[in-house]
């Protein structure tokens, strides 16, 4: 008994524990509370039921009202109508993401914030002035055209851009674009002869076509965006290294998606535990069966791990910690798989009732499976973690 790794030969690596304050602050908790209340009143999961199979699930007016509370303003500077709750906008956004995740909110929270962030950081004055205020105020919606196969591999970018005088002509396709059908603005990754660029393309531009995709996820809408000889101004290009823009965008999206997964998983976990305590078989609640209890314990373990990973990633990304890339990919690899695991277990534990269309658990299953493939799937993040570990190993050897 008592083999204590901390007092034995393992070095202890949380020597700073006395200085840890790894929790949301009071303002962020307030943000959580008010957001949860707002969503319960205006966007409960049940409100999506009638539109699950409708071509559109997004309500522009509702979005304007809600996003106006700051959902897409956190990463935008005050002079463009932005502003965050604390000086840790990405941490604030994680609070929002969790709450939106709990109700499987359909809105383009992730892509709009990704685009707002990119323009805030690297946009020209003109771009910032034109793009940011309506996004921050929720009046407009942005979508992110990444690749043709939904991966984050630059090699999968199938939009070509060519310069024609002051104009840029875009041709190609991007798929799995969340919010494509309602977006006012696209941030498009495109390939020029000399490298990648990010271009801002208004949805109204000639030659832009959008086709709704039939998706496993019934609570979001994705689309294929086709660009046929779409002409934009050369000034619509983001003037910054495309690799850096892409990395940042993927990292922001990963963290926000992880937050959404944590929120959804938290909701589903507690709903599942409540069901188990309610459902009686063999004259007992099924929560009283030890095999079920141990699986519930494993779900809590999964949830706690997802939460720790997502929160640390947000902090590391916001505060630019040295271990930021690894922290983000920890969340990206674990949260996606953890969420899917938890949903599958919840479905199984619900038994027959969970298998019905009317029960909500499949909406979570569908969301989880879809999210797993977006913004760098877990295997992409694990590969990144391994590459980072190689760097660590090299430094250790040096």
């Amino acid at each position: 008994m008592v083999p204590n790794p901390q007092l034995g030969f393992f070095g202890r690596d949380r020597g700073g524990s006395r200085a840890v304050n790894f929790a949301f602050n009071a303002d962020q908790e307030l943000l959580r509370e008010s957001t949860r209340r707002y969503l319960a009143d205006h966007h409960p999961l049940s409100a999506l039921r009638p539109v699950l199979e409708a071509p559109e699930v997004f309500d522009r007016d509702a979005w304007r009202l809600a996003a106006g509370l700051g959902w897409t303003a956190m990463l935008v500077p005050p002079e463009h109508d932005g502003g965050s709750v604390t000086d840790q906008p990405l941490v604030d956004l994680v609070v929002l993401g969790e709450e939106l995740g709990r109700v499987l909110h359909p809105g383009p929270f992730v892509p709009t914030n990704v685009v707002a962030d990119a323009v805030s950081r690297w946009g020209s004055d003109a771009q910032r002035k034109a793009v940011l205020p309506p996004l921050a105020r929720g009046e407009q919606v942005a979508a992110w055209c990444l690749t043709a196969d939904g991966s984050v591999e630059p090699g999968s970018c199938e939009v070509r851009a060519e310069r024609r005088g002051d104009a840029l002509v875009l041709e190609g396709v991007a798929r799995y674009v969340h919010g494509a059908t309602v977006a006012d603005l696209f941030l498009v990754l495109a390939r020029m002869p000399d490298g990648l660029v990010h271009v801002l393309v208004p949805a109204t531009a000639d030659g832009v076509g959008v086709r709704l995709q039939q998706c496993l996820d019934l609570t979001r809408r994705f689309g294929v965006v086709t660009l046929e000889r779409v002409e934009v101004d050369a000034a619509d290009v983001l003037d910054h290294d495309a690799g850096a823009v892409l990395e940042r965008a993927v990292e922001v999206a990963t963290v926000l998606q992880a937050a959404e997964a944590v929120g959804a998983a938290d909701f589903l976990f507690h709903a599942t535990v409540a069901y188990l305590q309610d459902r009686v078989q063999f004259g007992r609640t099924i929560a009283s069966f030890q095999a079920i209890k141990h699986r519930v314990a494993d779900l809590l373990l999964t949830l706690e791990a997802m939460r720790a990973a997502a929160h640390y990633a947000a902090l590391a990304l916001n505060d630019r910690f040295d271990d930021r890339p690894a922290a983000v990919s920890t969340a990206g690899s674990y949260a996606g798989d953890g969420f899917a695991f938890l949903c599958g277990e919840s479905l199984q534990l619900h038994g027959g009732v969970g298998f019905t269309w009317e029960h909500d658990v499949h909406l979570f299953v569908r969301r989880a499976k879809t999210s797993q493939a977006l913004y760098g799937d877990p295997s992409w993040h694990r590969e990144r973690l391994c590459a980072l570990a190689e760097v660590d190993a090299a430094q250790r050897d040096a």
Partner: protein, 396 residues
């Protein structure tokens, strides 16, 4: 949200430099091989050398907060932990869990009598908790302590006592009331040199002897050596057990991914360096994530504890997370080594002189001890989440 460790001010540079010099001057040379986990020397000479080392630290003023009643300088304490940790040598001998119990429940006299010598390495402690028929079900322990005037007379058998073969004192749980379950249990300080104490070292599957059986045959314990009140031993012990689990959960796997990269580079798989195999890379990536999550879980748990918002499941969650990760890492490292993974300490071809193999074997100490992970899952579900409790008895 913040996990920044406050920087140690420059004025402490002198303290650190001095400590480093001290370490160079006093660090003992041991015959004992360092292995994973809290292991116990097999030779008395090594125990003596370690006592000398801990004593010299104490006497020079390098003292650990866990044994002190007074406030300590936080920066000095961190430097102490960092620098002593880097030596790879133990700076606590035996099982110091009793220190927390004495601080929380002990009398001032007990504290004064025992904390300093424990800190100084003069007293080595062991714990006398588990019994052959009371492992997972610790509350069913059967060792009796019967009051006879102003002493208790103790009869019984204990097991899994770390360091008992070298211990001066034992942190004992025994039944003082003839009722079953936790209510009748009292915690004691036991003099391991007293008559009737018989320690038999237990060899483990690791091949090393880190635990002991302890037979108690009419051992006399003064009433003044009760910790806390009579019949409150379960409360005393539970604080210690939770500390223990938190400690296990705080076990380090910090640079595990880099270490695995090292192993993967040094071995081949299907004709190529294993590090070039995507399935290896995926596994290392996953272990990296899990070890980083372990650290982040530690931050969360520490923060919650500091705010008085701890959940009952915090310690069990981190204990499971660490112990299962640690085991799987060892299994994976062995698989990476191919057939070489079967070579152990002493074979010239063994990787790192068998450290990974020892880690693999010893890993079960953490999945089983300190409350097996099965018990941890029960605790999470029942006490943490309020699910119905398992029945005691009645099912054969």
């Amino acid at each position: 949200m913040d996990v920044t460790v406050p920087e140690i001010p420059a004025r402490y540079d002198g303290y650190r430099a001095e400590l480093r010099r001290f370490i160079v001057d006093h660090k003992p040379t041991l015959g004992w091989k360092q292995r994973s986990g809290l292991r116990v020397p097999e030779e008395e000479a090594d125990v003596d050398a370690l006592r000398e080392w801990v004593r010299s630290l104490y006497d020079a003023g390098y003292r650990l907060a866990q044994f002190l009643l007074e406030e300590v300088d936080e920066h000095e304490q961190r430097i102490l932990e960092q620098e002593l940790g880097a030596t790879g040598l133990p700076f606590v001998l035996g099982n110091p869990l009793v220190a927390g119990a004495l601080k929380a429940f002990g009398t001032p006299e007990q504290q004064a009598r025992h904390l300093p010598p424990m800190a100084r390495g003069d007293h080595i402690w062991t714990q006398l908790f588990s019994e052959p028929n009371a492992g997972s079900d610790l509350a069913s322990l059967q060792t009796r302590a019967e009051l006879d005037g102003d002493v208790y007379v103790v009869h019984g058998q204990k097991v899994w006592s770390t360091w008992a073969q070298w211990a001066d004192y034992g942190y004992l749980l025994a039944r003082t009331e003839p009722v079953p379950g936790p209510k009748g249990i009292t915690a004691f300080i036991l003099d391991m040199h007293a008559a009737g104490v018989d320690v038999r070292p237990l060899r483990e599957m690791t091949g090393t002897t880190d635990f002991n059986e302890v037979f108690l045959d009419g051992v006399r314990v003064p009433v003044s050596d009760v910790i806390g009140a009579r019949g409150e031993g379960w409360k005393v012990a539970n604080v210690s057990l939770m500390t223990e689990r938190t400690n296990v959960g705080g076990g380090s796997t910090g640079d595990i991914a880099a270490a695995l990269v090292g192993v993967a580079r040094a071995h081949r798989r299907r004709g190529r360096p294993a590090i070039d195999d995507d399935s290896v890379r995926q596994a290392i990536g996953a272990f990296s994530a899990r070890s980083r999550i372990q650290r982040a879980l530690g931050y969360r748990v520490a923060t919650k504890a500091a705010k008085g918002a701890a959940d009952m499941w915090d310690a069990p969650v981190t204990k499971i997370w660490f112990s299962e990760l640690n085991l799987e890492v060892a299994e994976f490292a062995l698989a990476l080594q191919g057939a070489r993974g079967a070579l152990v300490e002493g074979d010239p071809d063994a990787v790192d002189d068998g450290a990974w193999q020892d880690r693999f074997l010893y890993a079960r100490a953490w999945t089983i001890a300190g409350g097996s992970n099965e018990i941890m899952r029960n605790l999470i579900a029942e006490r943490g989440l309020g699910l119905p409790k398992e029945r005691r008895g009645d099912i054969s």
